[in-house]
Amino acid sequence: VLGKKNIDDDLLEELEEILITSDIGVQTAFRLIEDMREKVKRKELDDPGLLKKCLQEEIMEILKAEESPLDVTGSVPFVILVVGVNGVGKTTTIAKMANGFKEQGKSVLLAAADTFRAAAIEQLEIWGQRAGCKVIKHQSGSDPSAVVFDALKAAQARGVDVLIVDTAGRLHTKANLMEELKKIQRIMGRELPDAPHEVLLILDATTGQNAISQAKSFKEATNITGIALTKLDGTAKGGVVVGISHELKIPLRYVGIGEGMDDLRVFNAKEFVEALF
């Protein structure tokens, strides 16, 4: 890309490929390249060496607007409902967050509200032991709302700082499962006004454009207040968050960079954009 004397169509096409292969999406990529083309026409940009930087700055502006670390001090307990489609990393991200809060000296309670998937409760229990926090659970197959109700009661009784609720993976296209989520949210709000204080959507960085459809559907169903992007330690770039930020304006909280309890970072727009291309 570098080493060219001027910014021509070939160069812009090369950048288009880099953007699209980062999963930023066709429309977003075209719009960004068009903006660069305009800048070149208006003589605001003529050095190919600066083109990449200019693009990064424009993308950074979109992401910086949503760069907003999660502040859990606003309520006791501060209730976080974790949602997302199957296999994206909800349970593991909860373990990482719990560990992080414990390291900050906060008390954390976990709720095993995935009562459907085989060994989901056991998985969260093991993480709870490793992070040093209790897990409220019922029998496998029981009503997730009942688990959430008990967890809320327990969190209030024990004066816990943070309650994190793990839910079953669910495709946003399944109306009955989205209804189950809305019910969980209603039960929470009834027991503790303002709860959940954060509805965190977990997105997998390897997911393509479907992530946008996931974000839209979950936002519609449960008013998502934050996003965590997992598996950025792979080769996928997670460019989908650019379109999601631009369109849906949902705060970007965390990125997951591995399978261990310490593999969680607060979202940083600059670092993200520099890794994008």
Partner: protein
Amino acid sequence: SLTERLNTVFKKLRGHGKLSEQNIKDVLREIRLVLLEADVNFRVAKDFIEAIRVKALGKEVLNSLTPAQQLIKIVNTELTSLLGGENSQLKLSGRRPISMMFVGLQGSGKTTTVGKLAKFLKEKSHNPYMVPADVSRPAAIDQLQKLGQQLKVDTYEPKQDENPLVICKNAVSFAGVSAHDIVLIDTAGRLHIDEELMQELQTIKETILPNEILLVADAMTGQDAVNVAGKFNEMLDMDGVILTKMDGDARGGAALSIKAVTGKPIKFVGTGEHLDALEVFFPDRMASRILG
């Protein structure tokens, strides 16, 4: 949909007499955009367009009264033939017990798919044996054992601190003396760029010589599908692919990316969370889904 978009493009071209090279260029660009929006990899989409360019410039399209329809037919046929092909059945022949390894990225659906395949094979009068060789994920062994209980399918019980290679060896020898004809091995999710873990899979392969190595891949995977599938294939020369979570609304362009880059057949698709949600792969249905 592709039909609507091509109809719009061709409408603009009506009344210009013969379709020009530039006209076809615009039309092909439209098709490429549809593929990219469906998550087909950038390079794969480009190659696909090149492959149909000659046919698109043929008399069939240029002289047709309904060029959009002709072109869509060509695109659909080409896409279906690329996605389909030979060898989409499981290799079930060979000295018993035969074994199958399920590999892929974290969270793609391997453990659940092993359960589904065990049910599928049991219903075909086989006697499958499931092997939980994931010792790193919390409760992974428990997860597969619970599926085994649900299905009444025997499942290996790893001893404390048994590593994946030993688990596989012991499980296969046990299957050999216990009337189990097919061994299904669930492995830990791993990154294709994790050299140590990819080597672990290669070692298991060289030791137990499986009949099938199946890449379990998520249908909603984006541009990265070529990197993942390419690397797994390079290291393991896999036999096929199972595409999961097809019950969602992801267009599934990853299917074309994976097939194009590995040449390996997609054998099954996962269509739900329950253990009966496994279907044989139909290339024509996948083609229509990708084209929207």
